[in-house]
Amino acid sequence: TRCCGPPGAAPAMNCRAEVLEVSVEGRQVEEAMLAVLHTILLHRSTGKFHYKKEGTYSIGTVGTQDVDCDFIDFAYVRVSSEELDRALRKAVGEFKDALRGSGSDGMGQISLEFYQKKKSRWPFSDECIPWELWTIKVNVVNLANEQERQICREKVGEKLCEKIINIVEVMNRHEYLPKMPTQSEVDNVFDTSLKDVQPYLYKISYQITDSLGTSVTTTMRRLIKDTLAL
């Protein structure tokens, strides 16, 4: 179902926003984005609800699995749901293509927004009220040789470890979460279209930013060179 509101609109007042930044090599973009998005969705997905009489419901079981990255010295845990994985891969793939094709310095951001739907009376369309917005800023660097790439593998792996810790910190704050809905309201809070898990309603969007100059790329390259010099 389409959601309303212009993309990239400012989040509502009570929507918390988190920003993460990563610098990666081109071939690492997909895995890095998937690692972050999957980690967030692991915390924002429940088992499938099964409503019974008397207003009770039971919750299905969420399985998890380890994923090893090929281009980064890193591993992460994701929800065992092929549908969810496919949806994320599709979004990340589009983002990666856009980054590559932009001809810019390779800077962009991908956003994961969790929202609730609020039904409005006709003729007004339903409102989408975001309650949590994650923005991942990406800077793609180009490396000159295999040695630099090897170092980048490790560095990006370490950085992603930090990001996971950051994400968990945010999750642990136990701030606003939508109330558990009744059966009639469940589609306003959760994405019930998947067959095995039930994430909160979410949407992914991305932006490719115009090059702000090469300063950031140069800094990253300098960081790697400094590391090599040691």
């Binding site: 499938k48 380890d66 591993a75 065992s80 792996g157 558990m180």
Partner: protein
């Protein structure tokens, strides 16, 4: 007092949640250090035995150890449950890597609803634990275990002991959950790196004797609980069958209600579960730890480049342990709801439903409580074990089969190789790679060609001929490590990889060298005038000689 605010039912529920949370915490941590990728399947229908709505398998041995450590108690103020992860090398040295602490502090949240909010937050905390266990340094170490070291776990209950982690250890907080009786906190203190190794001087000579090793071997506190390898062993004691967790255990509740909290009914059924004894089929016996490793060290392949952690190749995709065509050791069944035994009838409150309906319409939802806990319709809980998706492979295989790297019995150690792992120093294989090794290697940097003095030689000498091949031409491709497949050979004292590297850059044949050719020609040319002068001097003799012949 606190307890009067909390209903006895809530208190019982809370205690149960904390107990099973502690057990699941231990499972997640130990399973994350097994050295393999974990995979469990989602199930849209609740099984009644998946605590916190997460598919976390229970390794019976681990639950047994956890229960032993807890001894019927729950984490409380001053009484923390700790899971210690340590590393033990093949020489027998051990070192603590991490301490995972499940603690309780005094900060209470009286308002929080036990059966809903606390339960769901505990579920969230377990997810955080799944994520965090993959980002501490010990995870990558554990993925490479098996050959030179193993990862062990130890569970203890009481005061947290962090002194074994060395100086400068770091802490990461996994999360907290407030409850009416205190706040549960889960955190991990971990050794940052093997930094102390870099202060030692490693040489390429025979081992330094008398190194102080008490840092590694002596345990600061005599541990009452023994250490266990994270790799699940089966078949070793055929008699010791650990009761599976679900034995005589209450089913976890999976029903929630959207009704307001006034009517809260929570019943637990004690179902009789079928526990088939684990069937051991086709297992490889794992030899006793100490013996296994000394055997492996003497007959194992040592790679040409010492595997230094944190430097160079980290091959995440290839765990050290191979499966090598093993069959499932244990069909580890998750127990489903029993079909017999007392299932007490759910106290019926006919007004409950309608009242809830009414209240739903008038007032905003207030929270949820359990209204009934019934074992779900007998869904086959085997779904968690078997994956039809192919991605998981066979999940129960991952946890229950033994992985042993079989090494050829007659494989010899290469004679002239000195790698760090040879040195008889604790944790020698973790030493930072000695970069000079390669610089001194004549195969990589061949000696310069010999100098020549002839002036003619300068013009005839072509640059960059003999013996000039170095790694420079391959600047953008650095061979980090070379492990050719099927390269072990019983006959050769070195493996194919080593052979390849040594003979990768052979010097050119001298006869083919244009240098030497040019040199001799130049010499010839130089000496010609001299020779001509000598012949001219003797021309009369030559002429006389010719005449005698006619």
């Amino acid at each position: 007092a606190m307890d009067t605010d909390l209903s006895s039912q809530d208190r019982k529920d809370l205690d149960k949640f904390i107990k099973f949370f502690a057990l699941k915490t231990v499972q997640v941590i130990v399973q994350a250090r097994l050295g393999e990728k974990i995979c469990t399947r989602s199930s849209s229908s609740p099984t009644g035995s998946d605590w916190f709505n997460l598919a976390i398998k229970d390794i019976p041995e681990v639950t047994h150890e956890a229960k032993k450590a807890l001894a019927g108690q729950l984490p409380a103020v001053g009484r923390s449950m700790c899971v210690e992860i340590s590393l033990k090398t093949s020489e027998g040295d051990s070192m603590e890597l991490e301490i995972w602490c499940l603690e309780m502090n005094e900060k209470c949240d009286k308002e929080i609803k036990v059966s809903y909010t606390v339960y769901n937050r505990l579920s969230l905390l377990l997810k955080s634990l799944l994520a965090i266990t993959r980002v501490t340094p010990a995870y990558r170490l554990s993925r490479k275990q098996g050959h030179e070291y193993v990862i062990l776990y130890r569970i203890y209950f009481g005061e947290v002991q962090l002194s074994g982690l060395g100086e400068g250890f770091q802490t990461v907080r996994v999360g907290t959950v407030g409850t009416p009786v205190g706040t549960i906190t889960l955190s991990c203190a971990y050794r940052i790196n093997l930094a102390f190794m870099s202060t030692r001087q490693f040489e390429r000579t025979p081992p330094i004797m008398g190194i102080i090793i008490d840092h590694f071997v002596d345990r600061p506190f005599p541990s009452s609980s023994p250490m266990h390898p994270c790799n699940y062993r089966a078949g070793e004691d055929n008699g010791a069958v650990y009761p599976s967790v679900e034995d005589s255990q209450e089913v976890c509740t999976t029903s929630f209600s959207t009704s307001p909290p006034s009517q809260c009914v929570f019943t637990v059924t004690k179902a009789h579960f079928q526990t088939p004894p684990p069937v051991v089929t086709d297992t490889l016996k794992v030899p006793v730890m100490g013996l296994a490793f000394s055997h492996q060290l003497s007959s194992s392949r040592l790679s040409y480049q010492p595997a230094a952690l944190g430097v160079g190749s980290a091959d995440m995709g290839y765990p050290v342990l191979f499966a090598g065509g093993l069959n499932a050791a244990h069909p580890h069944q998750l127990i489903g709801p029993g079909k017999e035994g007392g299932v007490p009838p759910i106290p019926s409150q006919p007004a409950h439903g309608t009242q809830a309906d009414q209240e739903r319409m008038c007032t905003p939802l207030d929270g949820v409580h359990y209204s009934a806990a019934t074992p779900s319709s007998s869904e086959d809980t085997e779904t968690v074990s078997n994956s039809s998706e192919g991605k998981c492979g066979s999940p129960h295989d991952l946890l229950e089969t033994i992985f042993v790297r079989k090494v050829g019995a007659f494989v010899n150690k290469p004679i002239n190789q000195v790698t760090m792992a040879n040195l008889d120093i604790p944790f020698a294989m973790f030493a930072p790679k000695n970069v000079e090794l390669e610089d001194n290697d004549p195969m990589v940097n061949p000696p310069d060609s010999p100098e020549t003095e002839s002036p003619l030689q300068g013009s005839l000498h072509s640059e960059g001929s003999s013996g000039s091949s170095t790694g420079n031409t391959h600047d953008d491709f650095v061979m980090i490590d070379f492990k050719p497949a099927f390269s072990k050979d019983d006959i050769l004292p070195m493996d194919l990889g080593t052979f390849y590297r040594e003979f990768q850059n052979p010097p050119q044949l001298s006869s083919l060298s244009i240098d030497i050719g040019a040199q001799s020609m130049a010499e010839d040319l130089d000496s010609l005038p001299e020779k001509l002068a000598v012949h001219e001097k003797n021309v009369k003799e030559f002429d006389a000689f010719v005449e005698t012949l006619q």
